[in-house]
């Protein structure tokens, strides 16, 4: 204990770090799952099936990437689903009102950003618990969505290009393209920027971060704005895909996003996790759903399986971290 252990050879696990091992393990599990699924149901291995899965998980990845950063900061955002629905409905309202489609999209996404700024301000400046703040904004956003859509769906008097953003026919469905772009942006952001590094510090120990001169308030607000923007974008994409503004979309989605993040190794207590993890989490859940659908599992069983998978994932994550974070 008293001597420096310099020059001691590192194990592969030590070289990768706990995040690296976590991500590699999840990737291996994903591959394994794909192999098992293919054995059970060979039709899994088809381009159209893959496209389906990717489109299904697109919201999870887009919103989940931003939620991952919120979790890393040591907070929650339970308003993501509601903000997505609100943005989708506002897109419909604007488009029906005659605003040019592209502008309508941008405005709808910006409204999501404003919601995020509100979340971030209450959490950072008033230091209110994010659980409470984002539940409140969740109700507000969902309320706006309902009001905007008259409690139902906007599908009349919409411009012809309303659904263009979400065009899913063609070689690569557009939602998948957006997913890749947003995911790439967040990957780079999380890995390479100073702000992201500071967010890790904030989640790990907010007091130490403050005393080290990190601008905690600014960073928290930025993190929540990004989450609001991503949620709104996902909501608009769904709305475009179905060419109608439905106020009920993404209900309960906040939990799906968190579950996928936790599956990917992000901890709810903050300071640890990766954006890559959300991709793994989302894909594992996506493939699992696909498998259960092909096997004809009823919804209730699917939830049961998801719950078990979640617990196993957390236990595995804990084990990996305890072995490597020494």
């Amino acid at each position: 204990m008293a001597e420096l252990e310099l020059g001691k050879k590192k194990t592969l696990g030590q070289k990768l770090g706990s995040d690296g091992v976590q991500n590699t393990t999840m990737f291996a599990i994903l591959i394994l799952l794909c192999i098992i699924t293919t054995i059970i149901e060979p039709s899994f291995l088809s381009v159209s099936n893959f496209k389906n899965i990717l489109v299904q998980v697109s919201s999870t990845v887009i919103i989940g990437s931003a939620v991952t950063m919120v979790l890393i900061s040591g907070n929650l955002d339970l308003s993501v689903g509601a903000v997505g629905a609100m943005a989708g409905v506002m897109y419909g309202v604007f488009a029906r009102g005659g605003i040019e489609t592209t502008i309508a999209i941008i405005l709808a996404v910006l409204i999501g950003g404003i919601m995020g700024a509100i979340n971030g301000s209450f959490v950072a400046l008033l230091r209110l618990p994010s659980f409470i703040v984002t539940i409140a904004t969740m109700y507000v956003a969902r309320g706006i969505a309902y009001i905007g859509a008259g409690g139902a769906v906007i599908n009349t008097d919409l411009p012809g290009d309303f659904g263009a953003l979400g065009k899913s026919t063609g070689v690569i469905p557009l939602p998948i393209v957006y997913t890749i772009i947003v995911f790439a942006i967040f990957m780079i952001y999380q890995n390479k920027t100073v702000i992201a590094k500071e967010v890790y510090a904030i989640g790990a120990n907010i007091k130490a971060a403050e005393l080290s001169g990190i601008r905690v308030n600014r960073n928290l607000i930025i993190t929540y704005i990004m989450c609001g923007l991503a949620s709104a974008f996902a909501g608009v994409i769904i709305t475009a895909r179905f060419a109608q503004a439905d106020c009920k979309i993404l209900t309960g989605f906040e939990f799906d996003a968190v579950i996928a993040a936790v599956l990917g190794g992000t901890e709810l207590t903050g300071g640890k996790g990766t954006v890559f993890g959300i991709l793994m989490g989302a894909l594992i859940l996506g493939v699992l759903s696909n498998l259960m659908n092909m096997l004809g599992f009823a919804n209730y069983y699917q939830n049961l399986v998801k719950g078990i998978v979640l617990v196993l994932a957390i236990v595995l994550n804990r084990y990996i971290r305890s072995q490597l974070d020494r």
Binding site: E3, L6, L211, S212, G213, G271, R326
Partner: protein, 497 residues
């Protein structure tokens, strides 16, 4: 001749290739205050954990009152008669004193807690004899650390403990509370209870120790009666195996240039009209008991607390409202609590080092991973952090090494003025000296330093001038030197005039 209450014979403890204890043998006499000293990593905690049943020894025997002692668990050890007062007290703050005492020992009938609890009565009786001012119905969170300790001691006594182990009990106590604790120790000895006392505070060891055992690198070095050790130097030499110079050497101070001018600092956090100057290259100390206002001054300078008064940095009034601004003005703070304020302990050395100034490892807001690693490695080497490598998580470093990472973090921001709040609290002797050397080096580089400390030898070792604080007031600033009068200092900081 006193009999032995505990005989430790050839005890070893191995952890996956590391010899935490290597063939340790010595005896502890009944009714004595037996001090255990040694640097962090010497094996003290491991030995204590074996005695209290938290770890199983790899080899060797322990005899307790002549009989073989093999506790199966901490509860088993407690029942056998070994009580322990840990550094982190095991109390639940939101519960009352009497509820805390009963925790784990509640008398229940079919799962419902009974009201007339015999063991509770016993403890409360003991508590009354130790400190009658503690009300059993008060909530623990309202009590000071010192009083919580007394509660723990009462618990141990009520269980008829033969041996009470105290691990760094005075770290968070004021002078008066330390005196009270020593009285309790004397009281316990009179009852025939043996105390195993672990501390880095050599003065205390000299005062209450009857025997001193020194461990180093997991091995037993020596056990001596206290009476056979004549000087601090002897004790330190036992502990680290080399001689230290504990004399004060004046630093290169430029008394013409004032790095900080503080005028009339007052706030509702205790400070009353504090005024002082910090000169360039100076190491200024602030000494006082707990609650005297040391951290409060640091917080004012660093922008953590509001205040009335003026602070001038290099001649210009600085309106520092938060740490970000303080750092921009050239200040850096090593906070009092390194684990909760100084570091992100779940992150690595590499992640923590650049936290005060990412500019050295990034450009345009984009991080350079290689620069981050090189920076951390550079500091690990420079301040000598004992670690596996810079990717190691902070939580697994010893206190002294963690503190060095905090220092690295500050140095990385290239500060003109460094504030150090209790820089060597909970740090072992060897690392302490290394940190003092680093502090002196800061002054040599022309930076100005303020050290806030409750350890007088530390202050007198490195500071050029010392501000004496009492109850939020700066009573006096004395010049350090050969003619320093420790009695006078103690008098001032305890409220005398």
């Amino acid at each position: 001749m006193q009999e032995n209450v505990l005989e430790i014979k050839n005890v070893s403890k191995h952890f996956a290739g590391v010899k935490a204890l290597d063939d340790v043998s010595f005896n502890i006499k009944k009714g004595s205050c037996h001090c255990l000293v040694g640097e962090n990593g010497a094996g003290k905690s491991t030995l204590i954990k074996i005695i209290t049943g938290a770890h199983k020894r790899t080899a060797g025997t322990i005899l307790y009152n002549g009989k073989e002692y093999n506790p199966s668990s901490t509860k088993d050890a407690m029942k056998t008669g070994i009580g322990c007062l840990f550094q982190e007290l095991n109390v639940v703050e939101q519960l009352r004193v009497e509820e805390n005492i009963c925790l784990g020992l509640e008398e229940t009938k079919y799962g419902i807690i009974q009201n007339n609890n015999e063991s509770l009565k016993k403890v409360l009786d003991v508590l009354a004899t130790l400190d009658a001012s503690i009300n059993p119905k008060s909530y623990v969170e309202e009590l000071s650390v010192a009083k919580r300790q007394v509660i723990e001691i009462a618990k141990a006594l009520a269980l008829d403990s033969d041996i009470i182990i105290m691990d760094e009990p005075t770290a968070a106590l004021s002078e008066e509370e330390v005196r009270r604790l020593f009285q309790v120790v004397a009281d316990l000895k009179a009852r025939g209870v043996t105390i195993i006392y672990i501390s880095h505070r050599l003065d205390e060891i000299f005062e209450i120790g009857d025997y001193i055992t020194c461990l180093r690198d997991g091995r037993h070095i020596e056990t001596k009666p206290r009476a056979d050790i004549h000087t601090r130097q002897e004790l330190i030499q036992m502990m680290i195996g080399k001689v230290l110079v504990e004399d004060y050497i004046p630093n290169k101070v430029d008394y013409n240039v004032k790095a900080i001018e503080a005028i009339g600092l007052t706030n509702d956090k205790k400070l009353k009209n504090v005024s002082f100057d910090l000169h360039k290259g100076e190491i200024l100390g602030f000494y006082g008991l707990i609650g005297a206002g040391k951290t409060e001054i640091a917080n004012v300078l660093y922008g953590v607390d509001e205040y009335e008064g003026t602070v001038k940095i290099n001649g210009a009034t600085a309106n520092i409202k938060n740490p970000t601004q303080a750092i921009a003005k050239g200040l850096a703070l090593v906070p009092e609590e390194r684990r909760t304020e100084g570091l992100c302990t779940m992150l690595s050395i590499c992640d923590n080092t650049p936290m005060m100034n990412y500019k050295t490892v990034s450009s345009g807001g984009i991080l350079n991973a290689k620069k981050m690693k090189d920076l951390a490695d550079m500091y690990v080497k420079k301040v000598v952090v004992a670690c596996r490598d810079s990717a190691q998580v902070i939580a697994f470093l010893s206190g002294g090494n963690q503190q060095k990472v905090v220092l690295s973090k500050c140095l990385n921001s290239n500060p003109d003025i460094i504030l150090l709040d209790e820089p060597t609290r909970g740090v072992d002797v060897g690392a302490k000296q290394e940190i003092y050397a680093l502090i002196r080096e800061l002054s040599e580089q022309g930076r100005s330093v303020i050290v806030f400390s409750s350890e007088l030898p530390e202050i007198l070792n490195i500071c050029d001038r010392v501000g004496l604080l009492y109850d939020g007031s700066l009573q006096e600033i004395i010049q350090n030197g050969d003619d320093v009068d420790s009695q006078h200092i103690m008098n001032i900081v305890t409220g005398g005039v």
